[in-house]
């Protein structure tokens, strides 16, 4: 079963970090990613540009409206994701707990719908 792990962190903290600090956190991420690639749990994963680069699009009455910024202003922002393969929620939680963002922000774990199992 696939789970999407959504990484939320305070992006302002990232902006104030020094190069060696950022390198250390990135090192943690590379080690984590390497670990779940080796265990076969890795499906995909990306880091996102900060929310200042975000654009929100809505179509109303057939007309596309774009606004600057993320869809909601929050204290912690979506900064990246991992799509993982896990046999159940316990395994997914164990993986999520190893993501560096879980230590500083939080990780939301969402099961992915398997349409082949739907009626």
């Amino acid at each position: 079963m696939k789970y999407l792990c959504l990484l939320y962190d305070d992006e302002r903290v990232w902006a104030t970090m020094s190069k060696p600090e950022i390198d250390a956190v990135m090192g943690d991420y590379f080690a984590f990613t390497g670990g779940i690639q080796a265990s076969g749990q890795y499906v995909a994963g990306e880091a996102l540009e900060p929310t200042q680069a975000a654009t929100t699009v809505r179509v109303r009455n057939g007309k596309a409206m774009t606004t600057d910024g993320p869809f909601a202003e929050t204290k912690e922002q979506l900064g990246g994701f991992y799509l993982i393969e896990a046999k159940d929620l316990n395994e997914a939680i164990a993986v999520a707990a190893k993501i560096p963002a879980a230590r500083t922000g939080c990780v939301e774990v969402r099961p992915v719908v398997d349409f082949s199992q739907q009626p």
């Binding site: 046999k87 929620l89 316990n90 774990v109 099961p111 199992q117 739907q118």
Partner: protein, 417 residues
Amino acid sequence: MTPDADAARQAVDAVYRADSRRVLATLIRLLGDFERAEEALHDAVTAALQQWPVEGVPANPRAWLVSTGRFRAIDAIRRRARQQASLGALADELERQAAAPPDDGVDDPAVDDDRLRLIFTCCHPALPPEARLALTLREVCGLTTEEIARAFLTSPSTVAQRIVRAKAKIRDARIPYQVPAASDLPGRLDTVLHVVYLIFNEGYSATAGDTLTRADLSAEAIRLGRLLVALQPEPESQGLLALMLLHEARRDARTDGAGDLVLLEDQDRGRWHRPAIAEGVALVEQALGSRRVGPYALQAAIAAVHAEAPSSAATDWRQIIGLYDVLLRVEPSPVFALNRAVAVAMADGAAAGLALVDALLAQGALATYHFAHAARADLCRRLGRHDDARVSYQRALTLVKQEPERRFLERRLAALT
């Protein structure tokens, strides 16, 4: 109905009452789904009502129910597979598992593990706390949604909705039916112990209603507590089981012939159940010896001091105050602070206790807790301040929800001069 048929029907009833939850827990493991398992249990019981009167009661009724339920479920999945192709593979897989010889899921000595698995699923931290309690009472203890609603002062539709949502999350997020690995156990145990504690409390001191206690709920909680201690002798599991046993030991002495409340100091200690006290005290000693002492073990230690005292006057109140001090450091709670104040009143006199109770009430957290006002009333009464006592008894009476406690407070109020 023939006498044989009648006996068979009674046998179905008896097996259902004694074993339906264990059968359900095993079916949930075998079928991997609550809904499917409940349907299978229902089908198996229906089949038993038809077949046992004719064919006789099987040698192992519980095994019969599990096996019948399991195969009826596979048949039902096969029928549905005609509309939904993906179910065919599931039916094949369940059939393959059923054909594997070693696991008939019943005579396995580890069958109680199915109930443990189910408790850990129902109390999974990914479920909302109020859903954990409702789901455990429904699925593990077999209470109806109406009974759960009554016990926790909410509506049956709220309880039903919590259970439905929790089951949907278990299915959709795939919360597994498994006892956590030893390394994860301490973290996962907290939510389970808390639910068992709430079940026991509801049985020991029902929040509302005509009777003071519900022995069936307490017995269920103690049974779950034993399963947890058998799983792994974690100090807090031992502490909780000890706490429950030490309270349960006093059950018969807590009410008189009329069903009225008898205070600890007035109880006939000869009616306390000594074997349960001995078992509880031994568990407290093990838990305290572990050096990882938690709130359940400390509460149990306090209960053990009471249980071993020959009378209220001969109780080691100093030790009880000391244990409350440690407990309050581990888990600051106004209710524990209130209990400590009552112990101080026993050791140092009512005036000392009253000062502490008044300070706690002034903080506000206990303003709607009827015991706080009842405790204040009792201390004022002992100090001869009857007008103050009257006000506090009346305040307690507006908050109390349980009939025997109401009668107790009314008697005390009427006895004031």
